[in-house]
């Protein structure tokens, strides 16, 4: 049970919180939409991988699995590859550039102060542009917010990957704006 009384306890993770406080739901959804599906030199699949990886490092099961499922939807991969994100991308094919950006994202997860000039230089050496570095840092920082919001209020999360299949497809292809309150 969440730390606060939510109007619909059956809604998991951030969805229940959106329902509790529509005033903050709107900008939070627009932020996710812009970061993960808006204009960026990074593909939505790459950006969802960054979101899922940071959420894993923050130990946030709901955000990790839902964004991993969205990434799998974008990349047309099976949900079984979700665990590969936790294992540091041994099976999912990622470019050296994305690997360098994921390294920056992992530093941001610890603290902004952990990102050093050599991390940036390594990403630039793999061809990362300024905007790609910016978007990586902001996505990582944003998930340090989303993860804390979801877990800090004690929301519940479905356990199995399968429960996130449809959610991930909706996040990938319908988007984040107002997808949160399902109508029966």
């Amino acid at each position: 049970m969440a730390h606060i009384t939510l109007p619909d306890e059956s809604l998991p993770g951030i969805v229940g919180l959106f329902n509790f406080r529509p005033e903050t739901a709107e900008p939070l959804q627009l932020l996710a939409e812009t970061l993960l599906r808006g204009d960026s030199p990074l593909t939505s699949g790459e950006r969802e991988l960054i979101a899922a990886y940071v959420s894993h490092l923050n130990n946030c099961h709901f955000c990790h699995t839902s964004h991993a499922s969205a990434a799998m939807a974008h990349l047309d991969c099976d949900l079984s590859l979700i665990d590969d994100i936790k294992n540091g991308f041994q099976q999912i094919e990622i470019s050296p550039k994305l690997r360098a950006l994921l390294n920056i994202a992992a530093k941001v997860q610890k603290s902004g102060r952990e990102v050093h000039a050599e991390d940036i230089a390594a990403a630039k050496a793999e061809g990362a542009a300024d905007k790609e570095i910016h978007d990586t840092v902001l996505i990582a920082a944003a998930f340090c917010m989303f993860n804390r919001y979801v877990d800090g209020l004690g929301t519940w999360a479905p356990k199995e990957h399968e429960a996130y299949r449809e959610m991930g497809q909706r996040m990938a292809f319908t988007g984040y704006v107002r997808f949160s309150v399902p109508q029966d």
Binding site: T24, P27, S111, G112, D130, V137, C144, G154
Partner: protein, 186 residues
């Protein structure tokens, strides 16, 4: 020096928000509502939450900026300094102590928030919305602090800069200035 070229006349967060206006918009709207919107927590109390989280994240720019605006809103400079030193002995209500302790837990991790801390907050009169907003403000500043420091933005050393920024935030809040920031070039 920032990791990417940013407008030199806009140190800290402002240069980033101008660099990427499409992502800045929802961040500004969220901040304006959480810190300036209608709320049973005062604007000063909400700025204390922002300041404490920035302080624990060791983000110099955000700590100095939100200390300045908290001081303006509270009308004195002592409370904010004492809150940063020790929440328990600071001259604030029991409810604010309980909420600030939750914020400090959120700074560590969402999973660090204990049911006991929530119970203490509720017993001291905190409502569900106040607890929700405290957690979300703390989480939002975990975003800001990482954004500002992860891009290695400049934190001016001159205390005058933050006094000016505090006044600007009091007057205009967190929305983008209607005419932009070109007037700050010199």
């Amino acid at each position: 020096m920032p990791h990417i070229p940013l407008p030199g006349h806009l140190p800290g967060i402002t240069g980033l928000l101008e660099y990427s206006k499409d992502t800045a918009h929802p961040i500004r709207v969220l901040t304006q509502f959480l810190l300036r919107g209608k709320n049973s927590l005062t604007e000063g109390e909400r700025e204390l939450i922002a300041t404490v989280v920035s302080h624990y994240n060791e983000c110099k720019f955000c700590t100095a900026a939100h200390t300045a605006i908290a001081d303006v809103l509270l009308g004195e400079t002592e409370t904010c300094e004492l809150v940063k030193k020790d929440i328990d002995t600071a001259p604030i209500s029991e409810k604010m102590k309980a909420l600030l302790k939750i914020a400090v837990m959120v700074q560590v991790s969402g999973r660090a928030v204990t049911p006991e801390a929530i119970t203490v907050a509720k017993k001291s009169g905190a409502t569900d919305i106040e607890i929700h907003d405290t957690v979300l403000i703390a989480a939002l500043f975990c975003l800001y602090n990482r954004y500002v420091d992860g891009m290695a933005t400049v934190a001016p050393a001159d205390p005058q800069f933050y006094l000016g920024l505090g006044q600007r935030l009091k007057e205009y809040g967190y929305n983008r200035l209607p005419n932009g920031y070109d007037h700050l070039k010199n």
